[in-house]
Symmetry: C2
Subunit: 428 residues, 2 copies
Amino acid sequence: MKILHKAYSAIEALAAGTTWPEHTTPLNIRDSGKKQFWPKGFSAGTARAGIKSGKRDLVVITADEPCSAAAVFTRNLCSAAPVTLSKEHLEQSASSMRAIVCNSGNANAATGSKGLSDAKTMAEKTAEVLGIKPWEVLVSSTGVIGVPLPMEKINDALDTFSAVLLEDSCADAAEAIMTTDTFPKFFALDVSLSTRDIRICGIAKGSGMICPDMATMLAFLVTNANISHSLLRDMLSKATERSFNAITVDGDTSTNDMVAMLSRSAGSEEILPGSRDAEIFHTALESLMTFLAKLIVRDGEGATKLVAIRVEGAPSTSDAQKAARTVANSNLVKTALHGADANWGRIIAAAGRSGAVFNPENVSIKFDDLVVLEPGYVSDFSEKEAKKILGRSEYTITVSMGNGPGCAVVHTCDLSKDYVDINGSYRT
Amino acid sequence: MKILHKAYSAIEALAAGTTWPEHTTPLNIRDSGKKQFWPKGFSAGTARAGIKSGKRDLVVITADEPCSAAAVFTRNLCSAAPVTLSKEHLEQSASSMRAIVCNSGNANAATGSKGLSDAKTMAEKTAEVLGIKPWEVLVSSTGVIGVPLPMEKINDALDTFSAVLLEDSCADAAEAIMTTDTFPKFFALDVSLSTRDIRICGIAKGSGMICPDMATMLAFLVTNANISHSLLRDMLSKATERSFNAITVDGDTSTNDMVAMLSRSAGSEEILPGSRDAEIFHTALESLMTFLAKLIVRDGEGATKLVAIRVEGAPSTSDAQKAARTVANSNLVKTALHGADANWGRIIAAAGRSGAVFNPENVSIKFDDLVVLEPGYVSDFSEKEAKKILGRSEYTITVSMGNGPGCAVVHTCDLSKDYVDINGSYRT
């Protein structure tokens, strides 16, 4: 399977350059199709329902026991029907969630009352097949906006699901939520808590993050750690800010964006707020989510480079974030990155219009270790050396403002002609 | 001259579709090289100083008498040296300005104290040649950021200027301020005031407005109407909001953006605030500026279409502006426009994340006269018909929110692969 091999290479390459936190052990992703990869008690099934012709486009992830659940949703005013429904279900049964159902190829957004009723049908059908309640199901969709879901196909496919739930289906599940992604994104960490080991496993999709406007970003995480839904919610929100929201300007602004997590609490000691275990778990969760977020940028539509924009020395974290996001999302910066052009002027100009407060005269800029701008607008560097760094598939641009303790990192990618190709006729 | 012929075609095509206000008469631009095109008392000289090898890259526009002056500048924190200096000169002599000097090929931005001293030298040298004071000169630059100006070349070229000031040089002046523009942009209107006729003439540049980040937009306007600098300032600010600022998200955020205007007051009756003539003049000025702004979008980097995004029925003007600007600047919308894809879902989703307040269920969307979305998310239209409209070089997308009286129009263009080409290696 070609795309699975692409996933192995991309994920392993990124993992090789990642420092995992203490108490965590990354799993070997090549085992994902051979043995249990999901945390104990979880399984998933996928199908080719025919929404995207011939491709895997439907997935159900489920636990054999009630789970705590938490989720972060898009803030877009025109949020999709499944977002509306999942919010309701989460309010109703945050401590007894059992499954997530998701289709790709159709966002079920801007579909009015029929859309909401279709999302409900997806939850009901999933519940019926699994023998649970509809409100114990989170529903998610991604794909084209404004087209009604092909419900007959989806219902027919869901009918087969009781037979296809597997414990080694993590890569398949990640594949089933892809849209313009070129490879499935998934990873898992084993985490050593004080008295026991648990696992966190996540899948994610999103490929249009090069333009964060409204390309859907989805991530589903599951764990067998025993954790209350309120603690889970706090941790998930915080970790989302520093992972998935640090790869976009406008954060969760798609009509369908959703980061959802289930924790199966049965049979283990609860992780209490403020405990050492809570800290270990949070750190592990954030590093897994950051890893998945970087995978998304790596696979950005038309992207050839993964670039970390690091702003330091800002008066505040908020100033650093403003500057980092504006630089990371500037089309002029992104095209210069694509052309391996050491155009630091575009970087400082983007920072200058970001709303961040700083003194331009104090700014220095580095490409990895190469200083291209020193305070006082002094610029004297080797273009050849700069080209070499900008030719790398992964590097860091550091903007030091010399103005305070504020720091922020945003991951971005270059803007290429392929982006235009991919998005010029996505719908038709 | 090839680019001049391109200018004639582009300007005439746009002018043909323009309704000019009462009391105004558009000039025939083909006369611009033959007879006096500038308002009476104005002239300009251009040179090939060698900043852009072999190309026209330096211009001085001057009046034979003191002028009222007004200008709107970039709000970018990292504004360029000429912006800093021109602000000072404007404070000093807003009622006795005499000239504008501008070079292309180098922005003199992020150049520190040397940059400021170079800008001063440009003003001094221009003043010396014209026999006026340095503070009677506005200075402007556009081009690459972060590289010191080649002052020897500029000084040598300025030395020749007393001999090259011409009254038929409007197209040449417009050419001298081009960077990635593909044709010079200029136009003039004769305006009938109550007791006399006056002329307003403008040149503009800017081609990166497809991505308004920091591609410099410059416009210089001159008139022989007698008008105080304070009234001129008020009119220029208002007209800028509805013209040049209505083709960008962040308005004037480049390091070098500048809209400057000189009015030569000698020998005619003053236009007083609140008078009928003030109204006529303001309307004419705004229509000329809007025309120049649309020319900029028409020539957007890699652009093939000029699209007006019109939002109506918003609770307020501010809501309408937010939505129109967000739609107009969405990469996903722009690529869909490029691919002639009737992807209205991206349009409503962009409006949804814009911060504008509205009820998505009430929204309708039209491409020119073709309704593609009706309230309640009803969408049933001919794809063939839509393709036909989206294939046009100029059309309007109307988003009706059904929510109030707020209305705004923003002009945008499509995002093409050529944009990536142009910006991938602009500097090197």
